[in-house]
């Protein structure tokens, strides 16, 4: 079976986030003075072929930890496939 996952990779709290800062700084001029706390990260979508969801989920965890994020500066979280399929 194929399970679809989404991995969200975000900078660890407290680290400088130049991207988020640049976006936030540009918003007031566009008329959005009420937006703050902007942080920019990565979104990765992937399909895993496995016999059951638990196996697939464990693999995604590992891929996210070893390849998709750098634990020194980033955190990640995995959105379950149900969420991924449901949303559009």
């Amino acid at each position: 079976m194929t399970f679809t996952f989404e991995v969200l990779v975000t900078l660890k709290p407290g680290l400088a986030d130049p991207q988020g800062k640049a976006v936030e700084a540009s918003l007031p001029a566009m008329g959005f003075a009420n937006v703050s706390g902007v942080h920019v990260g990565r979104h990765v979508r992937l399909d895993v072929e496995a016999t059951n969801e638990a196996t697939a989920a464990a693999q995604v965890e590992e891929v996210a930890r070893r390849l998709l994020s750098n634990p020194v500066i980033e955190d990640f979280r995995v959105l379950q496939s149900a969420t991924a399929d449901g949303a559009a």
Partner: protein, 240 residues
């Protein structure tokens, strides 16, 4: 009045890097370079506008995305609607796409790496302010330097772009043959530069402003600036 050199404006955004180079290229080729500032609503009466290369706003979100909302872009759009010649180089090209003045978009190079090297461009049309003194099929050598120069567009857009002859330059080898290693970034159909429907707005990833001085490299940028200055001069005459 007729002896006055055409005035070419170069916009500086926060993070523009090749703005001074573009001004120098304009002056080297006999024009008058006019510095413009992103936050001003003022094109200072120039006869042509250049959006230079660099990393406006760090290119942090998407290349050119934030600059596409800069105040001066309103004026650039009005200038373009009035037929004024507008040239976007590298980051300037990205900004023009983001601002909707040119079709398509630019994403990470297929290699995922920044690339700085000389390339050859095959001219596809003379119907633009930067190719008016060139003929289709001619080849010019110019450097590229970018990390996000892969030109992409939706299939409908591609049909439109090709159908209406909006491609201005394609990556090629020195003999003008496209394909393969000549394409430095994986661009769709080897597209290095496009124009708008009216033909007065052009964007390209390579840097003609870095190809006018024989001491530092190839000189393929000279005919592009010569064309731009000639177009600007005509316009100056017409609006004078």
């Amino acid at each position: 009045m007729t002896d006055a050199p055409p005035r070419v404006g170069v916009i500086t955004f926060p993070g523009s890097l090749d703005d001074r180079d573009a001004l120098r290229a304009v002056e080297t080729m006999g024009g008058e370079g006019v510095g413009l500032w992103h936050a001003d609503h003022d094109l200072r009466g120039v006869d042509a506008v250049v959006l230079p290369g660099g990393f406006s706003y760090g290119d942090y979100l998407r290349c050119g995305a934030i600059a596409g909302h800069a105040p001066i872009l309103d004026d650039v759009k009005a200038f373009a609607r009035g037929g004024g010649p507008v040239l976007g180089i590298c980051n300037g090209f990205q900004i023009l796409c983001e601002a909707g003045l040119l079709p398509g978009a630019l994403i990470r190079n297929a290699s995922l790496r920044f690339v700085c090297r000389d390339v050859f461009l095959r001219v596809e049309t003379s119907q633009t302010p930067v190719t008016s003194e060139l003929v289709p099929g001619e080849v010019v050598e110019i450097p590229v330097k970018h990390g996000e120069g892969q030109y992409v567009a939706t299939p409908e857009q591609v049909r439109m772009i090709e159908g209406e002859g909006l491609v201005v330059f394609r990556y090629a080898n020195s003999r003008g043959e496209v394909g393969g290693a000549a394409n430095p970034n994986g661009s769709l159909a080897d597209i290095a530069g496009v124009r708008n429907g009216a033909g007065n707005v052009v964007g390209l990833m390579p840097h003609p402003e870095h190809a006018v001085d024989p001491d530092v490299g190839p000189t393929g940028g000279q005919p592009l600036f010569a064309s731009l200055l000639a177009t600007a001069l005509e316009r100056a005459g017409a609006t004078a």
